[in-house]
Every structure is written in C-alpha cells, then in structure tokens.
C-alpha cells in the first residue's frame, strides 16, 4: 500500500512537473499578427508628381488696334499660317478718308508755303529799292539839293521794308512747320489705315478664332480677353505648366527629366525636362484661397513633337528629382515614428527588464527619465528579432514611389514589419509579434 502510494505520488509529481515545464518553456506565441518583408537593394527614383495644362511654348493673341467692321476673314481655327500671312480685314473706308483728308491738307500747306516764299522775294525787292532811294537822298543832301525831311522819310522806308521782309521770312518758317505737321498727320492716318489689315506675327496654327466676318471689333486691351480676335500658336515646341506643392519645390531643379501623361492620350507618355521653376507662389484667388495649398509654377518642356495636341489639355508631369542605384530600401508603410527615450549622446534607451522578468510593453516611454535622458520622436521601423518587434531608428534618404532609401539603421536582409497598418501604428518596442505572412519582396521603385 505504501509502495503504491509512493508510485502514485511520484507519477503525480512527474506529470505535474512535466506539464509545468511545458507551460513555462513552450510558450505559445501570443504576439500581434504582422506581415514581414525583408530589406532589399533596389533602384530608386524620387519623383514629384503634379498636374497642369498643356500649352505651346510660343503663342500670340491677335487683337485689333482700331475699331471697325470685319469685311474680310481669311482663316479658320486649325489653319496653318505663315508669318506675315493675311488674317482679316477691317473696313478701311473711314481711315482711308482720314488719309485723303490729311493728304489734301498737306498739299494746301505746301501751296501756301510756295506763296509765302514768293512774297519774301517781293519784300526783298522792295527793301532793295528803299535802300537805293536812301543812298540817293543822302548824296543829294550832301549837295544840299534836297531837304532833311526827304532823307528821314527814305530811312523810315528802309526800316519798314526790313520789317516786312523779316515777317515774310518768319511766315515761311511757320509754314514749313505746318507742313511737317501735316506730313505727320498723313503718316499717322496711313499707319492707322494699315491697322485694318491684320497679318500673322508668327508661323503656327490658329488655335482660337473669336470673330466672324461682319462683326465689329473693338480695340484690344491687355486685360480684356474678350478683345482677342485670333490666337496663333507655334505647336512645334510644347510645354506644360504644372503646380508643384511647396514641400516638393526645393527638390525641383532646371534640367531634371520628367515624363508627362496627357489625359487625352492615357496610353502615351512624353519625355520632357524642367525648363522653368517659379520663385513666387501662385496667387490663389476666390473663395477658400486662404486655406488652399501653396503651390509654385513649374514648366516642363516636352521633347519632340506631340501629334494631335491641343493647348489646354490637362496632363500630369512626373518629375524625377533624384535616383539611386541598388540602394537599401524599405517599404514606405514600414516606416513609423515613435516617442523614445534617448541618452545625451543620442543613443536609444532600451527597457532592459530585471533578471528573469518579462519586458514591459511601454517601459521605454513611461519610465522616469534619468539625468541626461530626453524623450524624442524618432523615425524608424520595427525589425522582427526573436519573435519581438524591435524599434530600430533609421535615417531615410530619397523617397521613391513605394520605398524609402535607408541611409543608416537597417541592412539588407533585415525583416521589417510592413503591416497590417493598425499593427504598425500600435506596436511598441519589444512587443511580441507573430508573423502571419511569408517573407515577401515587393517590387517597384
């Protein structure tokens, strides 16, 4: 009986001991389900994407410089025109009359000048006669043959003739000035007359025609788009003006390559280069302009010709701001920011649990700070090590479409937690994790 009791007791102790050992050593993984991806080397491209509109590099709006009815219209939208080619004719009769009137006025002035010049000759002749008479009277008074009164009269006559001559000569100058004025009027009228015939200033395509024959045009003003009669665009060089967010603009430089996708041609992309970067923010107007994002103008000039393009097409430009070959890269969704405790030298303070004690999930954040320690928000990623998520600070480089370049903190082959999003967001340093998906390597840049 005692022997049986001993055997039963030993068996109980062995069974209990075995189960207790299993409980303490074969712990079931109780961690958070996570997806894991291995760090790999990839070719990365940092891009900035922005949308805008297609436009020709050179475009001229043709407006009228004089008012009148259109009596001849030689082009339609889409017509190819050469520089100097006739576009439209405004009724010239009014201005032609003006030319005729000023011409006649000029002729009259010229005739009057001729008359004045003839009168100057008469005045000179009269003066000569008066001077000769004075000389004779002076000879006679020396001989005592004439009275003093006659000499005085002859002297006054000379003065009178001199004055008359000066007046006539001044009239000639006045008339000459008037003729120059009339000539200017004629030239001006002729210039105005020339304005009624509009020709193309450049070679290109008529991209817009806002006028019909018989309509009356008004004088074009800079700020009134309604006065534009025709738009001639040189479509040999196409560019797109896109609006880039202020956070991206520091990375944009002249000459950077870009690929442009025009919404009208979704299956094609066109290569281009950045040719202009705005220095001033685009002024937003209208309601909500105060809350609108601050954007800057960037112009991308497309290489080669773009068939069937129309100014005003909407497009998206993807500008490559930097490239890296075989860079250590991490999926964007794996990066996160955590408030961590750091030493004075910047090293991370990890919560080392007391001997034999399980690590606390929030020790690094909530523990009281030691002298020299501070709390700091650090960018990093969770690396799976021995079934735990270890927060690893990283220094990121350029940002590709799906990956960040990792300058330091991680190496090729490290297993980083990429999801699910809620797990990455709520994970704490040292949390137990359970890998639910096999290691995968994403593709892309």
């Amino acid at each position: 009986m005692n022997r049986n009791k001993i055997i039963i007791g030993v068996l109980i102790i062995v069974v209990i001991g075995a189960v207790a050992y299993a409980n303490l050593n074969f712990k079931r993984t109780t961690g958070v389900d996570v997806n894991v991806e291995k760090i790999a080397l990839r070719d990365l491209e940092a891009i900035v994407s922005a949308s805008g509109k297609i436009r020709p590099q050179r475009s001229v709006n043709v407006s009228a410089e004089t008012m009148g009815k259109v009596v001849g219209l030689a082009v339609n939208e889409g017509d190819q025109v050469q520089a100097g080619q006739f576009l439209l004719q405004i009724d010239p009769r009014n201005l032609q009359t003006q030319v005729n009137r000023t011409g006649a006025s000029l002729a009259a002035a010229q005739s009057q000048l001729a008359e004045t010049r003839a009168s100057v000759d008469n005045a000179r002749t009269n003066l000569k006669q008066a001077q000769d008479n004075l000389e004779r009277q002076k000879e006679l008074i020396k001989a005592g043959l004439t009275p003093r009164e006659t000499v005085d009269r002859a002297e006054n006559d000379v003065k009178l003739r001199l004055s008359d001559l000066a007046q006539r000569e001044q009239s000639v100058k006045t008339q000459e000035t008037r003729i120059r004025q009339e000539e200017a009027n004629v030239e001006n009228a002729q210039f105005d007359l020339n304005k009624v015939r509009l020709v193309s200033p450049i070679a290109g395509i008529v991209t817009r025609r806002n006028i019909e024959e018989g309509e009356t045009v008004v004088v074009g003003t800079m700020n009134n788009a309604g006065t534009v009669l025709l738009t001639i665009a040189d479509l040999s060089v196409i560019e797109t003006e896109v609006e880039v967010d202020e956070t991206d603009i520091p990375f944009i430089n002249l000459g950077q390559p870009a690929s442009v996708t025009i919404d009208a041609f979704p299956d094609k992309t066109f290569a281009g280069k950045v040719t202009e970067v705005g220095n001033s923010a685009i002024q937003a107007t209208g309601a909500g302009s105060a809350t609108r994002a601050t954007n800057f103008k960037v112009v991308v000039t497309l290489e080669g010709t773009v068939p069937d393009v129309r100014p005003g097409f909407t497009c998206t430009a993807v500008i490559t701001t930097a490239t890296r070959q075989k860079a250590v890269s991490i999926p964007i969704q794996a990066t996160t920011v955590r408030e961590m405790v750091v030493n004075a030298d910047g090293s991370l303070v990890r919560a080392a649990p007391p001997q034999g004690q399980a690590p606390s999930r929030r020790t690094t954040v909530t523990a009281e700070l030691q002298p020299g320690q501070t709390r700091k928000e650090i960018e990093g990623a969770f690396v799976v090590t021995d079934g735990k998520a270890v927060f690893t600070p990283i220094k990121s480089g350029i940002a590709g479409e799906k990956f960040f370049e990792v300058l330091s903190g991680l190496k090729e082959g490290d297993a980083v937690i990429t999801g699910p999003f809620t797990s990455v967001r709520s994970l704490k340093d040292g949390d137990a994790v359970k890998v639910t998906t096999a290691f995968t390597n994403s593709t892309g840049k």
Binding site: V15, I16, N23, R28, P353, Q357, A358, S360
Partner: protein
C-alpha cells in the same frame, strides 16, 4: 444530520481528530482517511482561513517586490487588452504610479479572505442541492462545506508551487496556473477553441475534482468513480461552454 451523526458515531471512538495542518497535508497524501475524519467531525473555518492565507500570500507577497509589481502591472494591462480596453500611455503611467505602493499586495491578500469563503459557499450550495435533492443524500450543509474547504488544500498546494516559479519567471497570471494542458499543443492559435479548451484543463483542478469526489464519497457512501465521473462531466461542460464563448 441524524444519519451523519449515526455514521460518525459508528467510527472507532479512540481515533483522534488530526489538527488543521495534518488535515491539510492529509488531503494531499491520504485523502480517503482524512475525509473520513472530516465526515466525522466537520470543521470549516480553520481550513478556509488556511487556504485563504496560502492563496493570498501566494498572490500578494510577490507584489511587495518591484519585480512582482511589474508582473502584476503587465498582467493587468494584458487583461484590459483582452477585454478590449485600449491602454493609452497616460493610463499606463497612472497604473504604473499606483503600482509603486504596496496597496495592491494587501488588497490581493485580503481579497482572498473574501473570495475563497464566498466561492466555497457557492460550491457547497450547488453540491448540497445536487446530492441531497437528486441523489437523495442526507449530509448536512456543514459537512459538505467542510469537504469543499478541505479539498481546497489541493488548490493551495498548486498556488504554493506556482507562485515562486512564476515570480522567478517575472510573470503573473490571474489563475496562478502553470499546469494547464494548453502548452501541450503550442502550435495552436491561442484564440482557437481547442487551445482555449486545453488551457482550461489544469492538473491541479483535476486533482481537486478527484479529491472532492473522495470527500463526497465519505459523506454520501457512493462510489468515488461515479461521483468523480459526474463532477468531471460538469467540469468538462463548463470548459466547453467557456472555450466556445471565449474562442476568437
């Protein structure tokens, strides 16, 4: 009551009643003989006090140390997580500050002096009603309660073994269980039905059920195997229901 008295009076009068500690050890080493004494002279208070004290100390003493407090805090956070409460950093800081005092340890000890007697009363009511009504037994409530209280010696032994091991491991569990069968199939998802079911099966609980059946046999003169089978069926049903509703 009269039947039990008659049964008790039929025992040899010369045999002395073991003291409290002897009875507690006797339930472990020689349950049949020990429960025969309990059936003859039912004593409840001393054993309930002893069991409560052992369980209270096993639960509370570790919390008087920094390691024990950290383990208790972690257990508290895990339980809140399990019940769907999101523990924010602010909440955790407050809980951590509160854990620095010894109040938690004292509360754990004192709570056992409430929980164990209360649990024993509930268990006694269920057993007394079941055996006296269904099986037409005649044991008094005090006799049944004495058996239940003495059977808790097994639970106290389990706590005595588990407490130092868990303290050394730096962990704490609400049930003080380190002998459940959940560890036998670690490949199972912990939220699965089977894992929950195995996790509920504890060797000390099985031992306690056997001891309880032996104790009830001493009162009701039935076959131990029959009573044990009935108790295990109830235990199994409870485990299945709990596993079903707690499985993810």
């Amino acid at each position: 009551m009269s039947d039990v008295t008659a049964t008790a009076s039929s025992l040899p009068p010369a045999e002395p009643i073991p003291n409290l500690l002897s009875r507690a050890i006797g339930v472990i080493t020689s349950p049949g003989a020990t429960f025969a004494h309990v059936a003859r002279v039912p004593k409840v208070a001393g054993m309930l006090f002893l069991v409560s004290l052992v369980l209270g100390l096993a639960q509370g003493l570790p919390q008087l140390t920094e390691r024990g407090r950290a383990a208790a805090l972690e257990m508290q956070v895990q339980q809140m997580d399990r019940f769907g409460v999101t523990v924010t950093d602010e909440m955790y800081q407050q809980m951590e500050q509160r854990s620095h005092s010894n109040l938690g340890a004292y509360i754990s000890i004192i709570s056992m002096f409430v929980a164990i007697p209360f649990g024993a009363v509930i268990m006694t009511v269920l057993l007394w009603v079941a055996f006296n009504t269904i099986m037409r037994g005649t044991a008094s409530f005090k006799h049944v309660m004495a058996v239940v209280a003495h059977s808790q010696s097994v639970t106290a032994l389990g706590a005595l073994i588990a407490a130092p091991i868990m303290y050394a491991q730096g962990v704490m569990r609400a049930t003080n269980s380190i002998t459940n069968l959940g560890a036998l199939l670690p490949m199972l998802d912990e939220t699965s039905f089977l894992a929950k079911l195995l996790g509920g099966i504890d060797l000390f609980v099985i031992w306690w059920v056997v001891v309880l059946a032996i104790g009830l046999t001493a009162l009701y003169r039935k076959k131990t195997s029959s009573i044990a089978t009935g108790l295990f069926i109830v235990y199994g049903l409870i485990l299945i229901v709990v596993a079903y509703f707690t499985a993810g």
